[in-house]
Amino acid sequence: MGFLRATLAIALKDLRIERRSREVLNVAFSFALVVLLLFSFTFDPSGEETRAMSGGLLWLVFSFAGTLALNRSFARETANQCLDALVSAPVSGAAVFLGKALANALLLLALELACLPVFGIFYNVRWSVSFGWLLLVMALGTWGFTVVGTVFSALTVNVALREIMLPLLVFPITVPALMASVQLTTVLFTGEPIAAEMVWLRLLFGFDLIFTLLGLALVEYVLVG
């Protein structure tokens, strides 16, 4: 089986499982709502400064809810030794990793798109002004977060206290991707020109590229041990 076909097969498998079980989306979306509620206590949600913070708030929601999804990505495979079967299947570990990362990224993007209108209503943010750019930033930011998260999800699959270990490892290293996404999202929400912030877009792109390549090169060691 070719690399791309194997990747696609793994991604579709994960998405199919999610479509049938809804184990991630339901929980993660409800969790995102809870976080949105909690934010309303930490500052005045009707104030003008809310818009200046909106990018940061949104990406905190995304990354908190995102770790829930990433946790399940490889943990799901521990039942019935599915992980062993995946590893011993005649496909490369890189294909397994890329397929899972794709599925995770699509899942997170769907979650984020569902969060956006709710966020706009609760915090009075106009998110649809430059939706095309926003979509690009969300896609790049989410990919950076998921690509690191998927490797670390495999890394922590057999670790005690896995659910806590994953965010502990993922957040510090994804700081640049989060910073870039927050900066760009805030600019888009406030309606300032994005041209002045191109350096962040480049940083985000570079981050994605570097860690995708690193993940593809090293994931075999993680999966086989």
Partner: protein, 223 residues
């Protein structure tokens, strides 16, 4: 090992003398500036420890030799100690000089992120039992974190551009007095010796731990 320990002890006493008695007090910051002679070298040593850890991790991935894993784990754990010294002495210095304990300047933020990475690495190791998988997982994590740390620093510089210029090599008006250089390099040498000393002890401990673990497994499989 005994000679190394003795030499390190002498060097540490000499470093204390250099930093607290010998070197003149800095004019504008006063006595508190003397923290610098331990603050900055401990970061340099922590950085050395990371690079040693990174090289050992790559060595493990290439060779699957657990001795590389011992070196990586030991170096990173000892590095955490020095990084903690760096992070703890920073606020002590900053409070009288800047008037605040902490500021989210790129250097400080990156140092803190780095410290969190160290902690994550050690916690991951604690959560894993099997030596082979643990070694592979922590080696991969080290490579990711080492690359990540560089990007974190770069992006933090973009984020907050009003950061203070580096004291050494920061352009005109920066730089150190000759006596201060002597004290700084003296402390750096002493701390590097201390690092090597601790690293050797820690490696021995790691090896003994692995041996007892192996024995326990054998015993367990026989009973």
């Amino acid at each position: 090992m005994k000679t190394l320990t003795a030499v390190t002890a002498v060097m540490m006493v000499a470093a204390l003398y250099l930093a607290f008695v010998w070197v003149p007090t800095e004019r504008s910051m006063g006595i508190v500036q003397r923290i610098f002679y331990f603050h900055m070298p401990s970061f340099v040593v922590a950085a050395v420890a990371i690079y040693v850890g990174l090289a050992a991790s790559i060595g493990y991935l290439a060779s699957r030799d657990l001795r590389f894993d011992e070196l990586a784990a030991s170096s990173i754990e000892v590095g955490l100690v020095f990084d903690t010294v760096n992070l703890a002495t920073g606020p002590l210095w900053a409070k009288p000089v800047w008037g605040i304990w902490w500021t989210w300047d790129p250097r400080l933020t990156s140092a803190f992120v780095l410290w969190l990475m160290f902690i994550g690495y050690l916690l991951l190791r604690r959560g894993m039992e099997e030596p082979g998988t643990r070694a592979a997982a922590s080696a991969v994590l080290t490579v990711f974190q080492a690359v990540g740390a560089v990007i974190v620093y770069m992006s933090n510089r973009l984020w907050r551009t009003q950061h203070p210029q580096p004291v050494i090599g920061g352009g005109a008006g920066s730089g150190l007095d000759r006596e201060m250089w002597v004290a700084l390099l003296g402390c750096l040498a002493a701390l590097l010796a201390l690092y090597i000393c601790l690293l050797q002890l820690r490696r021995r401990l790691e090896r003994l731990r692995r041996e007892t673990d192996g024995l326990r497994r054998t015993l367990y499989s026989m009973s």
